[in-house]
Assembly symmetry: D3
């Protein structure tokens, strides 16, 4: 993960810079109705130190890419097919939702490490392609991080965050294995 | 926000580099039992371009700094008084909670933009001092971002993130003004 | 061009983060048989400081995106439709061509500021979407830079670069207005 | 020192992010009446690539943290107890001393790699906590660097810097072992 | 190539920071009438992570440093002896040549990764010293990259870039071994 | 000081990238026998954001560039004429002097913000050309910063740093106006 020079220049070959596998839709036959297919330094060794990665996002109708952050990247999304509602939330003290409905051919930017989501609000499958300014951006779905980490975050902490009783927090946590 | 040179060097004075107001405990008489007092470029103009800020964290017994992220910073925390339980969650696919109970004089690091929390698990007030590697780190409490943004994130999106019914999501959202 | 904060957070709106216009193919009815449609900070003000941009590349059959560099970015390309031959050249002393033929769904990385090209080697139109790790990457077609700048680079310099006579250089330069 | 990924994510544990030992005052029973206790990547492996570190500064009455630089960091200091006089010197051509007397709860910033000092001007012990924007900031006390390096800087160089005779320089150097 | 710390501080010695061999003119007895002598991290291990390198440029009368880029650096050139014509080309849509004739003692900057050249337009040998803001800037002569890579860029691509027939492209390519 | 784009690309001209005035030796007829002539963003507006600057160093026989730091840069020096003794001091806990005598044509690197000096140990004038990896590196002569700032650093602080009596510190300070 540290430097293009870890492979001697004379032995570099085209396959170090190539990735196959975005040609078919991601499988959205799951609860979220959503699938992300990544192209990061884990898929292309030659991306190391280049500071960029991409992701293909497939959505069934009604499918949701739940609120999440990329701790090391900003994201620029282009809708390729269908209609996506997108949004991100600003930091304190505003906590504003900046949201938009995008048709195919429209783009939207999610600033560095802010909580954001996408949802297919059309009647057909939707596809997005996004760029991120890190070869290793990382992803953290924030609700799953709070409710479903392993081990669990103590219920008292979760309850305070929810402004709810411990029993509510416990019940919500129990849905995450 | 762009460059130390926005003020001519000859007119720079000590007050541009000084902040007063961390001498008394933050007021923790609130629901969370917690108060953060910031020292960022908003408080000290001379911090501009210097890439560092600090925060004083005061906790009543049982007080919680709810799970949150700093989109533009890593954080290093020192417990000054009392006992804090701290933790952060790693990115996909792990989503592990890395957690520790810290006594006064102990330190812990929360990596760049990962969801983390602190809780006073002692019987006395607790105080922490933290360093962040940005003069403008930003803070986003992730549960409040998902449930309490303005306008609200659509209930269907929140429900999918919670793996719960829309009615649960609506009820949870209603607690945030 | 200097900082997200140039617009006060409270007046930020969704349109600052949105771009329309990638929904139809770029017009490839030109000599190169190629058209690039950019999504940079010039198109989306909210991209400022976010370090990322994208571009849609349309190719007629046989169309060529001539050898060029992006002085401030690496590039990651996904072929959306058709078949593209792509390649980049390494630095001295190697000057190797790293090349590949990509089908739809395949990706390739062009390292920071190295000369690279793409060509549609299929019988149908081809479309690519690329990510760059700068909100303002810049583009310089290197042959046009050497032969067609305004004013022209002196013919003696061009001839030496071509390892050819001045008359050859003059003739080549004359094709660029 | 190169990258968070040097340890596989699945084997990361809380101790990699924890440091113990700031709970008792540094021993100031020395000539300077001062002790620095560091929390850098040398103490917390998990700080690697996170770009932040901290230091606890203990001062006996009259104790001095002699003029020094951190070659790779800016510093933000909070006085926790007592009264500290602090100052830094600007670059050429100004060479101004920007100085302030700070009480407990007050903060001050020392810009990137500029010569700065702190002194306890109160009658009690003083304690400061400082943040630095590097996991490995380094420290160089500038007078000791000029007079007490090993081997010594030639006396003629030191004399010119002091605008003094060689004999003065020699005598000053002799105090540093 | 990753970090100053790869050598333990206690074993660092002066030779790690020293380079010999700029004392005599580079041999300009070649077709270009030009020779570059580099001082990068390849010559001085201690340059690693320091972000700077230098190069000595020797020109016979009429000698040319053909149009080239440094993918990872900006360049600042000082003419030490003789008279150099220098120039760089801006990015699209301008593609302007910014050019100047420099006498000994004059300096010029070539921005990050833009195509640039130098030529000795005096009657004597000329010498330049340049600084680059990377310890490993890389060099790519753009005409040789397009016409002389190994393997060759397909002639159809080169012809389109030249706005010329394939036969012209083939002939130009044939001059590069 | 913030961004190449502050001048519209279409109005950029060659003079924005040019500096005249290194053609004659700096005047070394002073106490130090030394003169630095800078080429930074203050001299060349087009250096802005390019991250590089240069300096010409002229030394009379015996002339000294007193120990100093550049807070925002590493430095790479080439000796053009004469013989220079150079050295830098490492950080705590080593405080080693890394030193070398350089002849014309030899180069040496001074790492980021470490105290360093140069001295002409030959019988003729000496000339050096140095590169720095910032367009605005800044310079701080550390002895003058400690003894000669305006206002003065308190004598007690200086005395502790010198490990000497206050009277010694006072006397040394008095030589700096």
């Amino acid at each position: 993960m540290n430097g293009f020079a870890c492979k001697p220049p004379e032995s570099v070959k085209a396959d170090d810079f190539t990735f196959r596998g975005l040609n078919k839709p991601g499988d959205t036959n799951n609860t979220a109705g959503f699938k992300a297919t990544l192209v990061t330094v884990n898929q292309i060794p030659g991306l190391n130190t280049q500071g960029v990665s991409m992701v293909r996002l497939d959505f069934a109708p009604g499918g949701v890419n739940a609120p999440h952050i990329h701790p090391r990247a900003s994201e620029l999304l282009i809708v390729m097919e269908g209609t996506l509602e997108v949004g991100f939330v600003t930091t304190l003290p505003e906590t504003k939702l900046i949201t938009k409905v995008l048709q195919a051919g429209e783009a939207f930017v999610f600033p560095q490490a802010l909580t954001h989501y996408q949802r297919n609000v059309g009647k057909e499958a939707a596809v997005g392609i996004a760029a991120l300014d890190s070869q290793n951006p990382g992803t953290q779905p924030v609700v799953a991080a709070v409710l479903g980490s392993c081990p669990k975050i103590p219920v008292e902490v979760v309850a305070k965050a929810l402004q709810a009783d411990d029993s509510v927090a416990t019940q919500l946590q129990s849905k995450f294995k």
